[in-house]
């Protein structure tokens, strides 16, 4: 009993409740048909959300105004350059991965440099730089869609005992993210900075080093996501990251991370990612028109947040 109560106090619970709720509603509507299949799809697509949301979560936790709007462009650039470099050759798969991660590294470093050296507020720095990354992607390949190596495509779409391999991998990644957040100097530093950067500095936290690492982490994860998504969907497209701008933020905040900074959690990311995917699926299944669907999407997101507000720590 008290265990249940304690569970309900966890900030991430409501995202999971929401996910279960919309999944249940979908299943009820179809009389249970395809419920398992839907879940499998949710795990696959949710995994991509979680990858980028993990990075976004660390950024958002740095405190008010910190957000990475360059994730979509970074995904596109990393996906495009990696696919073109691999040119479909299986032997090049590791090289492609390194390139995607390397692009993330560069993007994150540039973002941080803009924030630190030019003192541009992160939200605008990452938005502005994202246009440059997008242009670089266009210039690199002019929108041509190069196929991923077959082995990469197979890996991203494979299943073990019916569970998507990509979801398993991202689950491991999420555990690593959780450990990083709660059990390392870096993670504690991020949370401290998010509450009070000045106090963090005076408590001996390496404020700027951690900020730099966080923007680099976010971009690197975006690069990874771009690489895997391009493998999964048969090539990199110039608009492949578009959707991930708002969703990465939505997943983070619906998952119970405080937008005021200084408080984050990883389990909520998976809950929120599944919730967002299943929500769209539910409304598609109900056959609602675009207008009604959008209105309901908005209202349900707000509903979950209101329900969760009873448990949220005051900021």
């Amino acid at each position: 009993m008290t265990a249940t109560l304690n569970l309900l106090k966890q900030p991430w619970v409501w995202a999971w409740v929401g996910a279960l709720g919309v999944w249940g509603a979908t299943a009820a509507f179809t009389g249970g048909q395809g419920a398992g299949e839907v879940l499998r799809a949710a795990l696959t697509f949710g995994a991509f959300y979680v990858i980028v949301a993990l990075g976004q979560m660390f950024v958002v936790t740095l405190g008010p105004g910190n957000v990475d709007l360059s994730i979509p462009a970074c995904m596109t650039l990393a996906g495009t350059v990696a696919m073109k470099t691999m040119a479909g050759a299986a032997a090049m798969i590791p090289v492609g991965l390194l390139i995607a991660l390397g692009i993330g590294l560069v993007v994150g470093t540039v973002n941080y440099a803009l924030i630190r050296l030019l003192r541009i507020p992160p939200i605008i720095a990452t938005l502005s730089s994202s246009f440059i990354y997008q242009s670089a992607a266009i210039w690199w390949n002019r929108g041509l869609r190069v196929k991923p190596p077959a082995a990469l495509a197979d890996f991203t779409t494979a299943k073990i005992a019916g569970v998507p391999v990509i979801a398993l991998c991202v689950a491991v990644l999420a555990v690593a993210g959780h450990v990083l957040l709660t059990r390392t100097l870096y993670g504690r530093g991020v949370v401290a900075i998010g509450q009070n950067p000045r106090a963090a500095h005076l408590a001996g936290v390496g404020v700027e080093r951690i900020r730099a690492a966080t923007y680099i982490l976010s971009a690197t994860l975006a690069g990874l996501c771009g690489y895997l998504l391009a493998g999964f969907s048969g090539g990199a497209a110039l608009n492949m990251g578009e959707e991930y701008l708002l969703s990465s933020i939505a997943v983070v905040v619906i998952g119970g991370t405080s937008v005021a900074g200084g408080f984050a959690n990883v389990p909520g990311l998976w809950g929120a990612a599944l919730f967002l995917f299943l929500l769209v699926t539910m409304l598609n299944t109900f056959g609602a028109g675009a207008g009604v669907r959008m209105v309901l999407t908005g209202l349900i997101i707000i509903g979950v947040i209101v329900a969760a507000s009873g448990t949220r720590r005051r900021t």
Binding site: R183, T184, A200, L202, A203, G204, V205
Partner: protein, 485 residues
């Protein structure tokens, strides 16, 4: 003062609990016009809580509130309190940092509105500042966030005493001098006397017992949520107050001869100069307690930060830990528990491999709670559930518990009660014996006797360099003011 006059304020059987913490256990207290009531008690005794009830910010769980003879218990709220002339200067500060001094005056004086309000607000706050703190150097158009903590405190005090359509019948001052230097504090206390002699009433909370004994007409001593002694000020002396609060005896400062020996023999660990013109340099030796004195806001904090940051031009041999004085903006992590707030300064100690061992961190915090006496049922509670003084203790624990060889303290005793202060003095002594060095900025003259060497600051420069043997209150004060002033 006669007890039979109708009290301006009467609290009767006031109780307040925060979860398991009984902050107030049935307090009954009356305040007569023309009277200054001194309120003392250990950290967490319930003083601020009581004043929050009186100013309408906390609804009591039980009890009655009477103002001017009327029972206002039902529906009592800040605006009701204000309308009845109850003003409060809060321990944690209540100014809007984004507004100017004059605009902040407008916030708490609703009557200042309509055309020409800005002029009236300037006149109101400027007049009070001139009256209470002559030579304050604050312009009514200064943005509050740009002011030092001491000047912010002055603005807040002046605002509370300012009168528009409602008189300031009762002014509550919750540790008003903790961020002021002794000169400014003296001015304030003189004003308090003027205020009560003009028929007003005041509640003065302070851990500086001398202030209370000198200024108050009556003194109430609180302990663990209740009033344990209440009498005319003349009936108390320092010893009696300390005894009533349940505090321990005082720590003795180090012998003068001993301090000189450190200067001569121990290696130098810090050498730094503030940027001000013609400044002397500060030198600290291993195991020494070096005092940074002078009026508040003369560059002491900046020099500490300069040393903390190992800025170019400073010689710092060893790690530095900081005890913040402005705990709101420099010290506390508001979303974290007490334990997390303590442990953040020492995380490296709890690493096993690359990962933190939370169990060890918690045990560490638990140990320091005991050593420094943080009053809380559970160190897993949020830091903000602590009283101001207890939060400060947590910051001490953070620095003392770290491995740093040099501890920089930025006027760290703000809001710390006498008993704890003595314990901390003793602890500092003990730590110096282990070779730790302390750089201690303080605005309290009494604390300088615990320093082995004192540097006096004025306008961003060090203007006097006093060894323990040559340090007197008079010399410090003399150096604090410009010759030609």
């Amino acid at each position: 003062m006669a007890d039979d006059a109708t009290p301006v304020v009467r609290l009767d059987g006031v109780e307040k609990s925060f979860g398991a913490v009984h902050a107030l256990t049935g307090v009954t207290l009356a305040l007569a016009p023309g009277q200054c009531l001194g309120l003392v008690g250990h950290n967490g005794a319930g003083k601020s809580t009581l004043m929050n009830v009186l100013s309408g910010n906390l609804a009591p769980d039980a009890g009655r509130i009477e103002v001017g003879g009327t029972d206002l218990t039902r529906g009592y709220a800040p605006h009701v309190a204000l309308a009845h002339g109850v003003r409060c200067v809060y321990q944690e500060g209540s100014l809007c940092p984004n507004l100017t001094v004059a605009e902040n005056a407008r916030i708490s004086h609703k009557a200042i509105s309509g055309p020409g309000w800005r002029r009236r607000a300037r006149a109101l706050i400027g007049g009070r500042l001139d009256e209470i703190f002559p030579g304050h150097g604050i312009s009514s158009d200064d943005i509050v966030g740009d002011l030092s903590i001491a000047r912010r405190q002055m603005v807040e005090i002046a605002r509370a005493f300012a009168e528009t359509d409602t008189p300031a019948r009762v002014v509550i001052l919750d540790e008003p001098t903790s961020s002021l230097d002794s000169v400014a504090a003296g001015k304030l206390l003189a004003h308090v006397r003027r205020h009560v002699e003009g028929g007003g009433a005041c509640v003065l909370i302070s851990h500086l017992l001398g202030e209370i004994l000198d200024t108050a007409d009556r003194i109430a001593v609180m302990r663990d949520g209740g009033v344990v002694a209440l009498d005319a000020a003349t009936a108390f002396d320092r010893g009696k107050l300390v005894a009533a609060m349940g505090s321990v005896a005082e720590a003795a400062p180090r012998e003068t001869a001993q301090t000189a020996a450190i200067r001569d023999h121990a290696p130098v660990v810090v050498e730094a100069s503030p940027p001000g013109p013609d400044s002397l340099a500060l030198t600290a030796h291993r195991g020494e307690v070096v005092g940074l004195a002078g009026l508040s806001g003369q560059g002491q904090t900046e020099l500490l930060v300069q040393i903390f940051d190992h800025r170019p031009g400073t010689v710092v041999d060893g790690e530095v830990a900081m005890v913040a004085g402005d705990r709101q903006s420099d010290g506390v992590f508001p979303l974290w528990s007490i334990a997390e707030n303590i442990a953040i300064g020492s995380l490296r100690q709890f690493l096993s491999g690359p990962l933190l061992d939370h169990g060890r961190a918690r045990a560490f915090a638990e140990e320091w709670r005991g050593r420094i006496g943080i009053r809380t049922p559970d160190i897993g509670n949020p830091i903000l559930s602590l009283s101001g003084g207890n939060q400060q203790k947590a910051l001490f624990a953070r620095a003392l518990g770290s491995t740093a060889a040099i501890i920089a303290m930025d006027d760290p005793m703000r809001g710390v009660d006498v008993g704890t202060k003595q314990e901390v003095y003793a602890m500092i002594r003990a730590e110096t014996a282990k070779g730790r060095t302390f750089l201690w900025y303080t605005t309290e003259m009494d604390e300088l006797v615990h320093c082995d060497h004192v540097y006096v600051f004025r306008e961003g420069a060090i203007v006097a360099d006093l060894a323990r043997a040559e340090m007197t209150e008079e010399r410090v004060l003399h150096a604090s003011f410009r010759e030609d002033a």
